[in-house]
Symmetry: C2
Amino acid sequence: MTRIVRTVAELRQHVRAWKAAGEHVALIPTMGALHDGHLSLIRLAQTKVQRTVASVFVNPKQFAPHEDFDAYPRGEARDAQLLETAGCDLLFAPSGAEMYPQGFATTINLTGVSEPLEGAARPQFFGGVATVVTKLLIQAEPDIAVFGEKDYQQLQVIRRVTRDLDLPVEIVGAPTARAEDGLALSSRNAYLSAGERAAAVALPNAMKAAIAAVRAGGRIDEAEAAGKAALAAAGFRQVDYFDFRDADDLSRLGPDALNEAKPRLLAAAWLGKTRLIDNMGF
Amino acid sequence: MTRIVRTVAELRQHVRAWKAAGEHVALIPTMGALHDGHLSLIRLAQTKVQRTVASVFVNPKQFAPHEDFDAYPRGEARDAQLLETAGCDLLFAPSGAEMYPQGFATTINLTGVSEPLEGAARPQFFGGVATVVTKLLIQAEPDIAVFGEKDYQQLQVIRRVTRDLDLPVEIVGAPTARAEDGLALSSRNAYLSAGERAAAVALPNAMKAAIAAVRAGGRIDEAEAAGKAALAAAGFRQVDYFDFRDADDLSRLGPDALNEAKPRLLAAAWLGKTRLIDNMGF
């Protein structure tokens, strides 16, 4: 079985021993409820370094009081089994008290890339993400850390905070893993009923159609409006955003995305009680 | 001469070479304008580790627009000479662009210990301090870092953020260095006129008297009021605070400080255009 450690001291003991032996180490931070998307991050890490560490911590600081912290799927035994199958060397599964001991008082906040999209919909989200990821990177001292492009804005926030704080780690983004019908893999897909799961494919389909329309010379605002209409028609009850943005800083694009250096389409929409997000490059 | 490096890459090259050779390393962060107080931090570090690195960076993020960032005393050649005399191994003197490159967007904020006293008088101060010190600790990767007790609340803020972010460094507090008459050494003492310098001794004297009064059974509130009155009589134009506080979290003390576990007296007051701070334990 993949070894499980619960304290920073044990985590560092393993990582430092590997590094002392000349091995390089990857950290793959997760909130558990592992699926093939997470395992693809581990496989990518294994092509780059000798040792992989997955962390599983459902971070209370990135959930607002009305969000799904309590309901978020948890199952350590299953997660550990999947990590074992993937050949992951170590699972770091700290308690809440190990991560945020009595008197904890520090928050890492970003301006800029953290503000639109997810930041607008979930005001405390990226402060919580930046704080816990910074802690995990300092705790584990990895050479690289791998994050999925599925959470694209999160990836850009983590790139920014890592650069800003001079953390000696390379941040690697991994392509979004998708189901056969194109839906991005997500732990929150477990919330979908069978009918909702069937409808969910409208999200990647609407995104592909919007990108194709803009590629064919269509206007960005019209492609965004058509995408939102397609989602509403498919049964999505609300679209938080369906936006073409600059791929680096997530600022709004000018009227013709194809003239921009790196456009990216990002979307978030609600199917019943489940909020799905996705993004695609050109 | 003490070697000067200006980039994080060069800094890490030196520190990592020392550590690879089995030597331990201390960082002494400063804003330059070095005096015997700073040199006492280096001497303390030299009793604990083999290698000492001083940083000199006047951090714009901890000054408000109306404060003395532009006027803050600077003189690298003199600083480097003093470090050479003290036997300091390396001076890290980064540019503003090296510390805060284009697009920098991250701030580290604390609640609790950062909020009263200096935090109340200077709302952006500790966010700036926590951000730059965290960066310096991540940049330099020292085994220990030494800070003067002169900036006592800053020391407690740094202890808290270091613990909260799991930075692998021991924070060492060094006793306040004082002039013969008792005035705490400070780079800002350079702002004092001869008359103000003579009057400034009223600050440590009023603090010693307040501690003696409380020790003799006097009431805290009366000792604080008497201290403020003494400073006004000595020509201080404003007292920001003159408070007995809990030495760990700087919370207000109950009516009898001597029954508290660890009381500490902290004061800040203005002499002309110069703001002096000091603190003393029991």
